[in-house]
Symmetry: C2
Subunit: 345 residues, 2 copies
């Protein structure tokens, strides 16, 4: 007799559970929870030594010509893995052309940069270091800098054993990629996908249902809820020129194919709630406004305020828990370390 | 019989031990090992809540007008608590007038800045935030920024309980000071002062003896081996104008007393081996060269190469162990957070 109330509750609970399961089944067809282990990287086995070296490099401002900027400067791990600016400020106070994307979970993107021009993070890492408006350095100067510090040399040897010349620009990029592979941020959405019914609020679940039903998930899907696939920004209706500046034709610059004009990689949406401002132009600070712009430009739909609100609640459930990152202690310069220069070439 | 050899060694060891004790006694009269607990701060009790808040503030680039610079930018905890540049690069790519001093153990300095114009770190912290060539912000804009983020507001309330208006520019500075009080770096020299004969090499001990005998310790003494007391740079002979630019008259600008022309606070020497370049001008990268310049300009002495080498060995024994600092997760901006501006006023 004592068991009956529990049994009644269990029976009464079936419809709700069934409903949650239906949404979850639908979601699991489209999305994937983050892995519980560091993702494997093709052609770059992740080892503890590589992670340690990569963390040092990620934090080292001496990878820039001026000594002012490190990877961390624009991919700030204290602020969602980006820099909270429209576009980054770099060497000589120059402004970058596009909003800095987050480094968090980036290892799981199919390609890197807004136009997908780098296949992976080891290719990506080499870009900003050499870009004149960002870190303005050269591979030769980076290698000379690193090779001038014995502690770096032994860290490279430990990370790339058996290589005669371990301190190379390629290995620097591989180590940075290995460190970035640790920047995985499991979120309430993952807990829910993994079976915890209480991990999402009712509003977030309603937002997820809208996200699927309206078609957002046609482009923003997979483990990073985006980050793979290329689509024209303004599929149905081009947004205003402030949000979509005519001068930046997106993937067209990579493929030189007319079809790729204003085509961008679908943004990965993990941690979108803490990585304002939005879009490649970085012109929109309010996530609700960004959601409305996407609904209009990509789906031709004007959302009701409560729909926008529910979608934002779902997107906020993608804000994850940062792994603990301890600030590294970097090797000190030596007599042969190239000196920083803030001059603009 | 088996005990004899050990006894003989012990007896033979006496003179060396006595010698070590004599040097240690001399050293303990002049210097002090770092404390094993967080130093107390006058008028600002250090609490865990204040430290947590202060760490967030220290790492937050939104304390600068541009959103580019945080305290951490120039007082980089990965590179000895400074930025390894002659003078720092700040807002609008402007250069600061003097070399950025290390934040490590700075709480133990008697006064802050090269000219001692701030009594303590809470006064110091307010300087760079407002300096036009550094973070170029205003107290009002900083408070508006912090008060716009509910997570910051509750952190301020936890750190300053019972204060009606906890989010103030003063409290920001107090919290930063509390965090900086945790940046204490015990070094081999401390272990030796505390009684570990093996913590210093013979060369470092010889360097310490020279440091005392030549008179370096007349100015560089106390727990930070400097950081208190003011002395003319070029007491015996002015160094060249590159190292001592005629335009920067040091403490004269603070006191407007002719006696204070080219007077500076004796630099605290902890971690000097990892905080090149040297002097307020930041013009000297090699510690040996800096030591020679000091010997000539302050003591009127030309050192023998082996003396310089021993002095550098002693100074290297002041390089301490960094406490583990975990990168904080900062509150995300809200709709009312003032936006960053890279414009130069």
């Amino acid at each position: 007799m004592r068991l009956l109330p529990a049994l009644l509750i269990a029976v009464a609970g079936i419809p709700a559970a069934a409903h949650a399961d239906a949404l979850r089944d639908q979601a699991l067809d489209l999305f994937k929870p983050l892995p519980s282990t560091i993702p494997a990287i093709k052609d770059n086995p992740v080892t503890p030594e590589k992670i340690t070296l990569g963390r040092s490099l990620f934090f080292d401002p001496r990878l820039s010509a001026s000594g002012v900027f490190s990877c961390y400067s624009c991919h700030n791990l204290a602020t969602g893995g980006d820099d909270n600016m429209e576009t980054s400020v770099g060497h000589g106070w120059q402004k970058g052309p596009r909003n800095a994307p987050t480094a968090l979970n980036a290892v799981l993107n199919e390609a890197q940069f807004w136009d997908g021009r780098a296949d992976d993070l080891k290719a990506q890492a080499k870009g900003p270091i050499q870009a004149g408006v960002e870190m303005a350095n050269t591979p030769d100067n980076v290698v000379a800098t690193l090779a001038s510090m014995p502690d770096y040399v032994s860290k490279f040897r430990a990370a790339f054993p058996g290589e005669g010349d371990a301190v190379t620009f390629d290995n620097m990029a591989r180590a940075i990629e290995a460190f970035e592979a640790t920047l995985i941020t499991p979120a309430p959405f993952d807990a829910w996908l993994n079976g915890d019914d209480h991990a999402l609020t009712a509003e977030a679940k309603a937002g997820l249902q809208l996200f699927v039903d309206k078609g957002c998930s046609s482009c923003h899907s997979g483990v990073n809820v985006g980050g793979h696939g290329y689509y024209p920004f303004g599929l149905i209706e081009k947004p205003g020129s402030e949000v979509l500046p005519p001068g930046d034709k997106g993937r067209f610059a990579v493929t030189e194919t007319a079809d790729d004009e204003y085509v961008f990689r679908a943004a990965p949406l993990r941690n979108v709630g803490v990585t304002a401002p939005y879009f490649h132009s970085g012109k929109v600070w309010d996530l609700s406004v960004a959601v409305d712009i996407m609904a209009e430009s990509q789906l031709g739909e004007a959302l009701q305020p409560q729909e926008t609100k529910a979608l934002v609640a779902f997107l906020d459930s993608l804000t994850g828990t940062m792994p603990e990152v301890v600030v590294p202690v970097l090797p000190a310069e030596t007599a042969t370390t190239p000196r920083p220069t803030s001059e603009i070439q």
